[in-house]
Symmetry: D2
Subunit: 201 residues, 4 copies
């Protein structure tokens, strides 16, 4: 007698008892899949998720990356007690990261042969680094309150990052450090605006 459909006997308890084939296959697959994700997740990607060239891969695997701990620190503040404003914390971290990126980009531009075409870029980077550093520091404080100052600094920082990012983008095609810095400024600008929105509630 013909059956119109085939019952996948391997998914059913076999007449022999134990669905060994399936289990063995699942185990092997699980190990392979887990290994693949683990290697993929840690080794070959830059912190921002883009693929790296082989030399940068090597550097990333060798250098244990430092991370910001603003979330941890602030959630243990006696007045916060775990009830954190995540948008503001993200902004704090982006500010510190962007301050470093802009300091680095200003320095890299200074080292280029065509430095005299990059003076406006250097100037905006130096200003941006100053604003980001101050904003990250001020936004960190939870004792007492100083909301109006935080808002104004977030606004100033968003503007500084926008202008610096725009200038860096003009040179991004020719200078990789400008391309990377522009991304950092865009992330920080966005984070500042999200933090501002979160403070309106």
């Amino acid at each position: 007698m013909s059956r119109p459909w085939r019952r996948p006997s391997s998914l059913m308890p076999s007449r022999d008892g134990f669905p060994t084939k399936v289990l063995l296959g699942a185990l092997a697959g699980a190990l392979a899949g887990a290994a693949a994700v683990a290697i993929w997740g840690s080794g070959s990607h830059a912190a921002n998720g883009s693929r790296q060239s082989p030399s940068r891969e090597r550097n990333t695997r060798n250098s244990r990356r430092a991370t910001m701990h603003a979330q941890q620190m602030i959630s243990t503040h006696p007045h916060v007690k775990g009830n954190t404003n995540d948008a503001l914390i993200r902004c704090i971290e982006e500010c510190y990261s962007c301050a470093q990126a802009c300091t680095s980009c200003a320095d890299a531009c200074l080292g280029e042969d065509m430095v005299n075409q990059l003076t406006q870029c250097i100037r905006l980077n130096l200003d941006c680094a100053d604003v980001c550093a101050a904003t990250g520091s001020i936004a960190t404080r939870r004792t007492g309150s100083n909301e109006e100052v935080i808002r104004r600094m977030l606004e100033a920082c968003a503007v500084a990052c926008r202008l610096c990012g725009e200038e860096c983008e003009r040179h991004a095609g020719m200078h990789e450090h400008c391309r990377i810095c522009a991304e950092s400024c865009r992330r920080c600008e966005r984070a500042c605006r999200e933090a501002l929105s979160s403070m309106a509630h």
Copy 2:
């Protein structure tokens, strides 16, 4: 006819053709294993690898963590061209991270009821934040050279972090933010000393 052992026919090309049962099981297992590793790796662990309480888990998953990009930025410097001093770069990142942690800890101590017992801790945190911020900034620069100043700042930073870390540890049992900050200072102290060693070659 009875067989003393069962040849796992599913692992061999069956007379039926395609070892479907095994493949299906492997696929299901791979997906399950990959998902397990992905969730475990990103969601439930704090940046420093320790398990978090449920509320902090929720916060970490929701907040996209910012990372430092010193490696990327500096490797694209025209004078560096990918040949980075990884120990120095790690140190730069730890410095920026520690500057934020110490600013946060000083502020958290200020918010404690027993603030008058934490004034030395606050003072060391404020000093440490200043040293770390300056050191991170100065160590970032690759144009020209200023090795003697970098060395002295790394030494000053290592000392500042050691003293601040020791003071924070005295209060770590009572204040979680002091415990976290002490860890940050220890990491930064170590990174400064490794960076110093790397500059001796």
Copy 3:
């Protein structure tokens, strides 16, 4: 023979004429007056013009005061060539001075027995120091242009100084360092607003 007046003939041979007495008196008076002003102007007054207590007089005379040289530095900028915006320069100097005053006041408040009543004051002082330092630095730069960022920082700084000054004034009657810091914040706020006005033209 009597004479109604006696001419000190040893100073002049003339019979008539020269109003020697007046000149001698004028000379003596001029020397005395000049000496009086010189001593009064340098020794017994604090930099801000108020009379000091004897111990502070001693300290002021002994310590050669450092002054800011922003005017000199900026007037020699290749793009400025002596044509300085004096209001902006005054603001730069006030910003650096205020950054130091607020750092000092935060620290002094931290050292008071009643520190737990001064936490809001400390927080505002720390924020103000950060804003002032960044504003002084950014306003200093004349290469290229970044007017929108300078304006926003001047506004943020004016607000930070106003709020910090108001808080310090609440404690001025009890803490001299708060009284002095409040004056510094008021001067800086005013300088920021004058600099903003000067940029509108």
Copy 4:
């Protein structure tokens, strides 16, 4: 009858009564002398005592110079009570002043046509500004104690100022801002070393 000596009758109460002419002359002279000293003392000299060119005279008279108030602030610290370390206070003020001068010089060099010959100078100025700012801030704090860190920062600052001053001097003949900055660095270096000596007692 002849008299061997002449009694200057103008200095004696005349037979007419009041030595009016002398007094009037003395008063006029005192006023003139005082006015002369006051104008000379404030208007035509740069803050460092050297004579200025006419245009700079005009600028200095118009701009009310800001001064540092570190002496005042620190002498009112609850733990200091007027017993100030003047060498350390002078150093604090020089640090803030030098941080501004180096920021300004880096920016001025960036604005020169021959910027590509000034990149090392810019780099040293940026580093020096960072060290000076941190040192001024850290040395300001009197609550609790952190002597080892202060010492190391004073040493780092002295070295940074020495190296920056030497580099600026190489360009001083061609760039006035480098000449002025070199002087600032020398003053700050000296102040740091005097502060270090004062801490050894």
